[in-house]
Point group: C2
Chain length 343, copies 2
Amino acid sequence: MSKPFNDAFLKACRKEQTPHVPVWYMRQAGRYQPEYREIRKKYTFFEMSEIPEVCAEVTRLPVEQLGVDAAILFADIMTPLQHIGVDVEIRSGVGPVIDNPIRSEKDVERLTEIDPETHVATTLEAIRILNQQLSVPLIGFAGAPFTLASYMIEGGPSKNYHKTKAFMYAEPVAWKALMEKLGAMTISYLKAQVKAGAHAIQVFDSWVGALNEQDYQLYVAPIMHKIFQALKEMGVPTIYFGIGTGHLLTEWNKLPVDVLGLDWRTSITQARAKGIDKALQGNLDPSLLIGPWEVIQERAKAILDQGMAQPGYIFNLGHGIFPDVPVENLQKLTAFIHEYTKR
Amino acid sequence: MSKPFNDAFLKACRKEQTPHVPVWYMRQAGRYQPEYREIRKKYTFFEMSEIPEVCAEVTRLPVEQLGVDAAILFADIMTPLQHIGVDVEIRSGVGPVIDNPIRSEKDVERLTEIDPETHVATTLEAIRILNQQLSVPLIGFAGAPFTLASYMIEGGPSKNYHKTKAFMYAEPVAWKALMEKLGAMTISYLKAQVKAGAHAIQVFDSWVGALNEQDYQLYVAPIMHKIFQALKEMGVPTIYFGIGTGHLLTEWNKLPVDVLGLDWRTSITQARAKGIDKALQGNLDPSLLIGPWEVIQERAKAILDQGMAQPGYIFNLGHGIFPDVPVENLQKLTAFIHEYTKR
């Protein structure tokens, strides 16, 4: 390590004072980068995941290029599912497609357990490599059980999660078993990431906003409680993120998680007004990033003013970076955030 | 008219006492009905819209079959766009597809004006026929400018509305012109529906929940204010509905509209806690309707208890009926609502 370790991100997760507002971007390793597009020409997504050096390179690139305060492991939320009996494929322009969707309790029963040291050895090796190279914290991550289940039941991406919810309502016993199995897999996978050297964990529950508060309480909250409780024992900060989950924030605030990630819809002020007292991460609309710089700056400033009102704030987007965003806009944005918030 | 006119729905819109909680369902004329599927075998969607008698039949069918308290005109929110220069086609399994998407201010300039008596004569004729036949109120409707613009800019359905928002941020002048043109079209189309005999109007802003509160205020609220103000002069109740718009309800409550439609995510209790004092419509999760009857009944009961806490409540789903819902479940649900809420 040549540079001193920058722990601003970890401090903000713990609601401690930081020298500046830390920032990282969801999907900061992605197709908007010319270098990433070059690498993707050579490998499929899952092929990349199989080569620890490539994973590490792709993870490191945006840290150097943008100057962000945290790295996020290059992987996909679907990665561990391959190893418990789910036939998943990432289809370009579509997303994850699953050839053997869950249709019954029997389908849930045939899911197996994950053994991280065997099954995701390359991911863990990438973490160990990155630990030697990075001077910012490395965020490990996983998909949350509801979001993984939505792909497994729908057979791919969905606009309404109709099959998922229909299964949940009609087969509550099978649903519970599915949540338990995916929860155990997630805990095992994430603990292995922390043991390998991840400094923090983000759990992506991207699509759980499709549920109302009552259904979240009944069908999802118990497993999320279990996951974050298990991670608490590992001593690393945890982040919980979803799209369109503003109506669930009061429930999320009850979970043993450190940071809540907001999408662009719910402002930090709106979240605080609901009594959310955890650290917050977010939430510039990622569609803004192809707009004029003046608009980006004005909106970022407004968000920073809200976020800095109390300790425990990490700047991020409200969702992942789109492929058509110029790298330069993210470089300018990162520099602006650091400059504007310097104490 | 053989039966006396049932005005429970109109009274509830005006927050007056009603003999029972009125109910209708979004997409109550749809593919879940065997009779509808038969008619659809004979015509394309737009062909159906061209024959007033078929429109009227399809509109009337669920009223007779389910016993609901209101009819909603059979049409599509894209219907008027065809007449202002938008090449739109409803593609089965995809949704509306537009061959000449909006890319610049020039594309906005070439949009023309609608003349309802010429362009949507069949729709207006269907309303006149239905007025002779129905003993419940007929709801006319239109898509709201943001939602229509999202199709026009994306070229079809979208998951993230990235192009729409990018256009909005980068081309504020063209965006405003687009909202004004679509607003004028909507006012003209809806006024013609009321003149032909529609008793109430629902405006579908299905996808406006993709915006945060600040963007809604800046880019959408002015045109919605104009539309509802123009409809106020017509003397019929108005309803405003969108998906995932819980974070916009405080803004919506300021509009000169009578009823706010809630999707299944935001409960009536949550909406009232935000200070929403308008009449409310909603909001059973439509995915519940293929579940066991006991679960449907229990959830409907919970929603009715919330809704009946003050006058001005209309039962509905949080979104349209899915094609796999058994007709019988909707018949039982309608009967249960009437029975449970009878005064």
